[in-house]
Symmetry: C2
Subunit: 185 residues, 2 copies
């Protein structure tokens, strides 16, 4: 069962890393760096879903786009590998931090799309509440995996724990932890 | 040493809870709820530091203000109590989530103050780069404790662990963990 989740997270991080590097990076890097298909896809998305943010990111979104390029994209490659290998205990806390950061960002993104007055903008934005709802229900699913990752890692307090002791006899397995605890007392 | 950190976090959360409830809530709740001194303090802050955001929050900041009222303020009261008692293991992961959320929010706040064109706004904003830098160096210290909390809790993997076993003989201490691990194998 845990292996299924790990595969889901592996695919998610692989996808996120590539998407972040190719498309989201367009928000912060010079435009001439990009092959033609990148702005084409973004313009199509903007016009089709009426989401003006990726082509015209406000400052708060630029801040998150920089965070993504500097931390999230490199981390996503590492995390994809960690979940491919499986039972990597060290990925637990970074995953919780990653998921919290992404969900925080998404709350601002959703709220902005739901509440902002887009009438004075260069690119078309949602105006009616139907358009806002349709756009939000398009983006919301991208939050499902981060929520799943967060809940999974918070609950799996011993994630990857027995992975460390694969070649150690069963009755010895918790010894390192108990040694560490004993030392501190 | 750990007790010193716990006292710092206790005071920080107590202060955050009260500040969030009294001042930050002004961004989202009806204005008639507030005694006169609340808008007075906020107007003084806005004019003195040239930070127009608390009196005129953009949508992304309103989103974070709602998060604060719904989750962060109640959590801060609980966390202040947990750090007052000390060695509460269950506060470790919520603390990491709290700190990540607050720091994510602060990155957007700082970047907005540093980059946004405030010339068309109702309230005075920073315009010269000196004014921007002064404002940011005023706000930045509020991020120090969240960074400290995050680093402390990530590093203290066994935070509050031996607290659970105070009345149990030493050689039994890791037994609950090892039983749980054994059951899963």
């Amino acid at each position: 069962m845990i292996r299924i989740f790990e595969w889901i997270f592996c695919v998610f991080f692989g996808f996120s890393a590539v998407w972040g590097l190719v498309f989201d990076s367009f928000m912060v890097y010079p435009k001439w760096l990009y092959p033609e298909f990148v702005p084409k896809v973004l313009v199509w998305y903007t016009e089709h879903y009426k989401d003006p943010l990726p082509l015209n990111p406000p400052e708060w979104l630029q801040a998150f786009a920089w965070c993504e390029q500097l931390f999230l994209v490199p981390f996503s490659f590492v995390a994809a590998y960690a979940f491919y290998k499986g039972k990597q205990r060290w990925i637990r806390i970074p995953s919780i931090i990653y998921a919290t950061h992404v969900l925080t960002m998404m709350v601002a993104y959703m709220y902005h799309l739901f509440m902002h007055d887009f009438s004075k903008q260069k690119y078309p934005g949602p105006t009616t509440s139907e358009e806002r709802q349709r756009l939000i229900t398009t983006i919301l699913p991208f939050g499902i995996i981060p929520v799943l990752l967060l809940v999974f890692m918070v609950k799996e307090e011993n994630y990857g724990m027995h992975g460390h002791f694969t070649h150690v006899p069963r009755h010895h397995s918790p010894s390192r932890r108990s040694e560490r605890i004993a030392k501190r007392d």
